[in-house]
């Protein structure tokens, strides 16, 4: 009954390839290229240990992106709940068997590879939301009792991720989820009430945070209180960025980065390294590229004829945007240091893979923009 409604299922692979938003793929490659440059510099002008590994991963992830784009969207649509369920199970497994790294249980050692289920959960949560709102019509969406289920969709993975504890990823899942709720039909007053509630709940959550998380928040409001302790990272990051000036200190010339004053320069603080060496101009170019990729996401979202694609593409775009804004805001001292990597640039396998998978899914939605997906 449903199959007959799908009109583009019989396109050839070559035809599908033509429908990819190659412009976005190009921008993604540029963005990742900046990342390679920064990683090359972070290693003191060497491809090892970071740039070369990152380039290999990116190449693999790029192929995966294209493959994902070509997969029939209805398969994706049908397996949403299975994937969502799987990621919840993996998060639970991490809780039980997880590998402890950096004071937090985030990794699941599968023998061959270690994966971070929280990264997977980012995508599956958005998929589940898209699937849910796809099936509801506008009247249903606006009923408050119908908000309980999407709240659970977001709440379960957020709870499990924060418990690991990975506050950064938890917050980004929540923000991406909330933006989808907002876009899909959440009454504005509920959203505002939610924000107020969140602010009120801070004192309630506070005692459950890890010491290092508390430190980060305290230090955010007054980094100079602990110039050699927890405030060190943010102070040194601001010094590195600020000393870059208009045009930066030049490629491989960042003193803060190369003399190790800058912590985590190849992961969370890679934007700082870029900003120190390439200055304000380099920073603006990077932010401009990110904005273009996000704008592309909006465009792709609007191209979709079906609500599943629209919502999913929008959500994944929001996901990317949150990555970028929270990370850069954090290294510039605008937001507390919460440990969110810079998408596509920070060194790291799972994050890179999942960001590219997200782009692959967006492309898939675009390629299958006319797909007829069942209502329920």
């Amino acid at each position: 009954m449903f199959g007959s409604h799908i009109s583009h299922g019989d396109e050839t692979l070559l035809e599908k390839l033509k429908h990819l938003a190659w412009g976005q793929v190009f921008l993604i490659c540029l963005f990742a290229g900046i990342g390679f440059t920064a990683l090359y510099s972070a290693a003191g002008g060497h491809f090892d240990p970071w740039a070369s590994a990152q380039m290999t991963r990116f190449l693999g992830a790029l192929i995966m992106l294209v493959v994902l784009a070509l997969i029939d969207l209805k398969w994706v649509f049908r397996s949403v709940w299975i994937l969502y369920g799987m990621s919840l199970v993996l998060l639970l497994l991490v809780d039980i068997f997880g590998h402890v790294g950096m004071g937090a249980q985030r990794w699941l050692d599968l023998g061959i590879i270690k994966i971070q289920p929280s990264e997977l959960a980012k995508i599956t949560t958005l998929m589940a939301l898209a699937r849910y709102f796809h099936a509801k019509d506008i009247i249903e969406i606006r009923k408050i009792k119908n908000l309980i289920f999407p709240s659970l969709i977001i709440g379960l993975p957020v709870y499990l991720v924060v418990k690991q504890p990975d506050l950064g990823t938890g917050i980004s899942i929540m923000l991406a989820g909330l933006s989808v709720l907002l876009a899909a039909g959440l009454p504005m007053w509920i959203f505002i009430a939610g924000v107020v509630l969140a602010v009120i709940s801070i004192p309630v959550i506070w005692p459950f945070l890890h010491d290092y998380q508390k430190d980060r928040v305290t230090v955010f409001f007054n980094p100079e209180s602990e110039p050699l302790g927890a405030g060190f990272h943010i102070i040194q990051s601001k010094i590195a960025l600020g000393s870059g000036g208009v045009s930066g200190k030049g490629f491989l010339q960042g003193t803060q980065s190369h003399l190790n004053f800058l912590p985590e320069k190849h992961t969370d603080f890679i934007f700082t390294l870029w900003g120190e060496e390439w200055g304000f101009l380099g920073g603006v170019v990077l932010l401009g590229l990110a904005s273009l990729i996000i704008l592309y996401g909006y465009w792709m979202s609007f191209q979709c004829k079906h609500h599943f694609g629209r919502i999913l593409t929008f959500g994944l775009t929001m996901n990317f945007s949150i990555y970028i804004m929270v990370n850069i805001g954090m290294v510039m001292g605008l937001l507390p240091v919460v440990g969110i990597p810079l998408a596509l640039m920070s060194y790291g396998g799972t994050a890179m893979l999942m960001v590219m998978a997200a782009f692959g899914l967006m492309q898939c939605c675009l390629v299958h923009r006319d797909a007829r997906l069942p209502r329920s």
């Binding site: 907002l182 876009a183 600020g242 000036g245 003193t255 003399l259 304000f280 990110a290 804004m325």
Partner: protein
């Protein structure tokens, strides 16, 4: 389908709202970036530079101290230290164990290293041991492959080749006190040494030199990555002393026949000090490496004061050597002439008080010459009652007693010349005439240092010029040893330190000086108090004056129990023995003061030493030798 369209429209509207928020967020990021990089860029650039650059102080080499002929008195030895850099070895303890097979290390050393290991960052080398023998260094270098993290470094160690002979002049160096370390970063360098006594202390700033600096680029751990610039350190100034090192050693060794003694030998014209010795002494080299508390306490508590330079810091009643002053005061005041005589019955009565002459039988009738030659107390008792204490005190000050010269050793003391004013001001009492009698023979409150007594005699025998002693040759206010014509050709030329060459004549009638010198020559002739110690060598004859300064009068009770002679008293109660001398008599060049603490008698204890050292200096004649 309408409902679907409604859903799409709703979504589109909301997306635009969210997109707007995102645009705001992006603008905030760009604005923040502009604030940091464009507005506050300069501030952060400074901070980044401060992060990056670490200035390392390069210690200067301490200046050498040499004698008048360039013989080193204080110099720097290469001090090989073995160090371990923890980050270069996997197991510091194992490395130390391996090192121990070649180089003996005490448990204390091992514990100290392991303690430092916990305190310091791992890239900071820890000194294991200093003062390595050359053989040890070779052995360590040979085994370097088996000793990861071990390195040998050449530092500097202060060395004093003349050891105890020059200890009281040169002094020694030691670690900087913690309070001083805050004053100058150079002083805070580990192992930096500063002068603690004598020349090393007084001229510490000159000897210290100027620190260099190396600007290092450092990483976040402070470890140097590369050197950006370097200013070399400037070695400290080389100090040339007026001392003749070999002669100094001779004097020091000659004094060693006594338990405690000191001596100064100086040039009567220029004030150069050829020797300045105080026995017992100590080996300053032991202080460079640190001295044990027990050794230190023993030296500190020794009544013979091995740590003090008694020649410049010891204050003694000058005894009969002071009679030179009283005699000149009498002649200058016009109350007497050299032929004036006094009959000495062995005592002098002032009112109902009786003052004894040292010779209980009396000297009979004596004139000035006889009074000096035999050191007749009665003559000077009588004279002092005629001229009064203030004339005596004035003459004493004119001749350089009771004052400091700004000598090159901080240990210099001023002594005391009492007079009526002093008595009123300090003692809040009136002057009694009996005190005048005591002061006239150098007893009572009179106090002088051997350096002052040698200076006093120099001023008498150089024709009445205001000479002052000095040790360190420098341009400007003091004479440069190499440039001075006085030194090069030995011309007797008066030289003043304190007044820089002006107003150097004391204004004493040369006839009076001559009359006193005749008396001093008579001291070393038949019947004089120092006849036994006369110099018989031709053209080297000595004149001088003995002195015995009372520490304690032998009481009637002691006399009753058989204590008649000084030798019967405990050492610390015996009289001090003094002798001031000059030579050669026909053209005075050298003056000395010898003081034997509790030596009992000037003629028996001090004069023989003076004989030896005055003969020796004339034989060596450092004045005649060109400085090299």
């Amino acid at each position: 389908m309408d409902r679907d369209q409604e859903k799409i429209d709703f979504f589109s509207r909301r997306s635009f709202v969210i997109g707007g928020l995102q645009a705001l967020g992006m603008s905030a990021l760009v604005g923040r970036l502009a604030w940091l990089q464009l507005v506050e860029g300069e501030k952060y650039r400074t901070l980044a530079e401060n992060n990056r650059i670490n200035v390392r102080i390069l210690p200067p080499s301490r200046g050498q101290i040499v004698d008048r002929f360039g013989v080193p008195l204080a110099t720097n030895l290469q001090n090989f230290q073995v160090l371990v850099t923890p980050e270069q070895t996997e197991d510091v303890e194992e490395t130390l164990e391996n090192l121990q097979k070649i180089l003996p290390l005490s448990d204390r050393i091992v514990q100290r290293v392991l303690k430092k290991l916990k305190q310091n960052p791992s890239y900071v080398p820890i000194e294991i041991r200093g003062n390595l023998e050359w053989e040890d260094v070779a052995e360590i270098e040979l085994n370097m492959p088996h000793l990861p993290g071990i390195s040998v470094q050449a530092g500097e160690l202060r060395s004093y080749p003349y050891k105890d002979s020059t200890a009281h002049i040169i002094g020694y160096v030691g670690r900087v006190s913690e309070a001083d370390q805050l004053k100058d970063p150079l002083l805070a360098l580990p192992g930096f040494l500063v002068g603690k006594t004598a020349i090393e202390k007084k001229y510490d700033l000159e000897l210290r030199g100027k620190a260099g600096k190396a600007e290092m680029e450092v990483n976040v751990h402070g470890r140097p990555v590369r050197e950006l610039s370097r200013t070399a350190a400037q070695s400290g100034q080389r100090l040339v002393l007026s001392i003749d090192a070999e002669y100094q050693r001779f004097v020091q060794q000659r004094l060693a026949t006594e338990r405690s003694a000191s001596a100064v030998v100086m040039d009567v014209h220029t004030g150069e000090v050829y020797a300045c010795a105080s026995h017992p002494s100590f080996d300053p080299n032991a202080f460079s490496g640190g001295i044990s508390v027990a050794d230190w306490e023993q030296m500190r508590d020794d009544p013979a004061q091995p740590l003090n330079n008694k020649a410049v810091g010891g204050q003694y009643p000058p005894g009969s050597t002071f009679k030179i002053v009283t005699a000149l005061a009498g002649l200058e005041s016009g109350f007497i002439d050299p032929n004036w005589t006094v009959f000495c019955p062995g005592h002098y009565d002032l009112g109902n008080m009786r003052f004894h002459c040292w010779k209980s039988g009396g000297h009979g009738t004596v004139n000035l010459n006889g009074a000096l030659a035999h050191s007749c107390d009665t003559y000077f008792y009588k004279l002092s009652t005629m001229i009064g204490i203030d004339r005596i005190a004035d003459m004493a000050r004119t001749l350089g007693l009771g004052d400091v010269y700004g000598f090159d050793l901080g240990e210099e003391r001023g002594g005391l010349i009492p007079d009526i004013k002093w008595k009123r001001k300090v003692k809040k009492d009136v002057w009694h005439q009996g005190e005048t009698l005591n002061a006239a023979i150098g007893q009572g409150d009179d106090l002088s240092t051997p350096l002052q007594l040698a200076t006093m005699l120099s001023r008498v025998v150089n024709g009445g010029y205001k000479v002052a002693p000095w040790l360190v040759a420098r341009d400007g206010d003091k004479m440069d040893l190499t440039a001075s014509s006085a030194l090069r050709n030995g011309t007797p030329k008066p030289f003043s330190v304190s007044l820089g060459g002006s107003d150097i004549e004391l204004g004493i009638d040369p006839k009076h000086l001559r009359a006193v010198m005749d008396g001093l020559e008579a001291v070393c002739r038949q019947g004089g108090t120092a006849y036994a110690s006369r110099i018989v060598e031709e053209n080297m004859e000595m004149g001088g004056k003995t002195g015995t300064s009372q520490v304690k009068r032998i009481s009637k009770a002691e006399r009753a129990t058989g204590v008649r002679r000084q030798e019967d008293l405990p050492w610390h109660l015996r009289h001090h023995a003094l002798f001031v001398g000059y030579a050669p008599t026909q053209a005075p060049r050298y003056a000395c003061c010898v003081l034997v603490d509790h030596g009992a008698g000037g003629s028996t204890a001090a004069a023989p030493i003076a004989h030896d050292i005055m003969l020796e200096i004339q034989k060596r004649d450092p004045k005649a030798k060109p400085p090299s």
